[in-house]
């Protein structure tokens, strides 16, 4: 028997009421790499992504079957400490959603939950997180200002910094650049490439060029099923399935 990868799903299905949005998906996410999830609108990419840190639990009427493995532990087990789990798996959404607080407080928010009260320690975490999100130089003199005063691209990097503040091992990104201009998008992509050295990243994107640029592995979803999953180069140049090729060709236009 093959050991499941340290982070992987096994036979994962997700339902909204009677509707099955994700159908028996088994796939792994290798360390120090970026996996892109692609597929037409409504095929279940966000649903799948959200289930990985159990954010789907917050949606009334949703339930799941199957397993999510992380270092040999089943995250879908009923006894799982969802709070610890979410500390290890960070998430960023399409629309930047900074808190209505200062830049500093946005970053310090998470660490405070994990009991860090020491001001010096918090200062350090804020600086490290902002540096990792390539935002430090732009905001270091205005940490006390409202996060809402930042531009959309800066807000999104702040959200990434906020996710990094609790030192996750996995980062889930749901179309993180689709609301941003090309320059900001470029910065986010650079950031992803930089961050993958220490984390696993799973990114949903509708932008095929982006998937090709930033990801090592690509998974093509269609109507809740995983059609094809492999190395990005292979998926983009020589996919096994016709439907994958058609989707990618169509999107490249």
């Amino acid at each position: 028997m093959v050991m499941p990868m340290p982070f992987s799903t096994e036979d994962l299905s997700i339902y909204y009421g009677e509707f099955q949005a994700i159908k028996n998906i088994s796939m792994g996410f290798p360390a120090a790499s970026v996996t892109a999830l692609i597929g037409p609108s409504g095929c279940g990419k966000s649903t799948f992504l959200r289930s990985l840190n159990r954010m789907n639990d917050e949606i009334a009427g949703s339930r799941s079957t199957g397993h999510i493995w992380m270092d040999g532990i089943d995250l879908t087990a009923s006894g799982t400490d969802v709070i610890k789990l979410r500390q290890r798996i960070g998430m960023v959404w399409q629309r930047p959603n900074p808190f209505y607080k200062s830049i500093y407080e946005n970053i310090a928010f998470g660490p405070r939950y994990y009991g860090i009260k020491n001001r010096k320690q918090l200062d350090e975490i804020v600086e490290t997180s902002l540096r990792r999100a390539a935002l430090w130089d732009e905001v270091k003199d205005r940490l006390k200002e409202s996060a809402l005063a930042l531009s959309g691209g800066q807000q999104q990097r702040l959200c990434i910094a906020r996710a990094l503040s609790v030192n996750p091992q996995i980062l889930l990104l749901d179309e993180p650049a689709s609301a941003l201009d090309p320059v900001s998008t470029g910065k986010i992509e650079e950031l992803i490439t930089e961050l993958k050295k220490d984390l696993r990243i799973v990114i949903v994107t509708h932008n095929m060029q982006q998937a090709a640029r930033v990801s090592d592995y690509t998974a093509y979803f269609y109507l809740g099923t995983l059609v094809e999953h492999g190395e990005t180069d292979q998926i983009f140049t020589n996919p096994e399935k016709n439907s994958t090729q058609e989707y990618i060709m169509g999107r490249f236009g």
Partner: protein
């Protein structure tokens, strides 16, 4: 050539749709303008009337403004009469603040329950029920207060039952729906991303409510509270029925007292137009009106802060 040849009548017929349009446009414009002018005229004349009557106490009857605002003896029919409005002003502020203190935590908790804990049930059943509550006429609240709250206070707390405490309780029940619906709206309109971000960092529901949701909607919550206070401050009937209406500054919650509104409602039937007694009531109305302006200004300021 054939096509461009048009008889005058034909031309008129062709222009008709356009003309009709313009007439409708004009009628609409005139109608709305008339309404607006009427509205403005009404507001201006009310403000002017209340102000001129209210000022007459000081300008015509020679009562000192300071004696009125800070005098503690209200005896309009004594000789010589005394027109100290302090007991009523203090009574109004006291019941209003107490009512807000009682109602705010309850309302905000109710709003949180409706939006955060049982959103579907809250939206479908609780919200309409609360809105219904705010439509109940104040005389009914006063009646309930007189029938239930006053005897309860008399039997279990002491005193006559009537008094500041009873007034504040009745008012707090009245403003509960006001604060609750404003708070529930604000909570429901909070972007989902705010909660999601907090949950995704591992916060529990309670931590999310306490550290993210409440601070973010705080200006709106304050708006609701001030709206409730404005309603409490201006309420006459329900308060008058349970507060006792003694013209003294109360020293305990179980003591009978009066408010600006209760003195006006009780006194207006018994005073002759243009008498000093009547004018003094108008001065109280002026104080009420000015306080209402202050409440509205506070709400406006909060709303501006809310938008940022």
């Amino acid at each position: 050539m054939e096509h461009s040849k048009v008889t005058p009548r034909e031309a008129q017929r062709r222009r008709l749709p356009l003309e009709k349009h313009r007439i409708e446009d004009w009628i609409g414009r005139i109608y709305t303008s008339v309404c607006v002018v009427f509205l403005i005229a009404t507001i201006v004349s009310i403000v002017y009337f209340v102000t001129s009557k209210g000022v007459a106490t000081f300008a015509v009857n020679g009562v000192g403004i300071m004696d009125f605002l800070f005098g503690t003896r209200w005896a309009p029919d004594a000789s010589p009469p005394a027109f100290g409005a302090m007991p009523a002003i203090a009574g109004s502020f006291l019941v209003t603040l107490l009512a807000a203190l009682i109602a705010s935590p309850l309302s905000i908790a109710a709003a949180l329950f409706m939006t955060e804990i049982v959103p579907t049930f809250g939206k479908r059943i609780l919200q309409p029920a609360i809105e219904l509550l705010s439509g109940i006429p104040s005389v009914v609240y006063g009646f309930i207060g007189l029938t239930l709250i006053v005897p309860f206070l008399r039997d279990h707390v002491g005193g006559q039952g009537i008094g500041v405490g009873a007034g504040a309780l009745v008012l707090s029940i009245m403003i509960l729906p006001t604060i609750t619906s404003v708070a529930a709206d604000a909570l429901a309109n909070l972007q989902r991303g705010q909660r999601e971000a907090s949950y995704a960092l591992g916060a529990t529901r309670w931590q999310t409510i306490y550290r993210v949701v409440l601070p973010t909607v705080l200006p709106a919550l304050l708006t609701g509270i001030v709206l409730g206070m404005a309603r409490a401050f201006g309420e006459a009937l329900a308060v008058q029925m349970v507060i006792g209406n003694a013209p003294f500054i109360p020293t305990s919650l179980l003591e009978s007292a009066s408010t600006l509104t209760s003195i006006i409602t009780l006194g207006m039937g018994n005073t002759a137009m243009n008498s000093i007694q009547n004018n003094a009531l108008w001065s109280m109305a002026l104080v009420l009106m000015l306080m209402t302006f202050v409440f509205i200004m506070i709400i406006r300021l909060l709303e501006r802060r809310n938008r940022i």
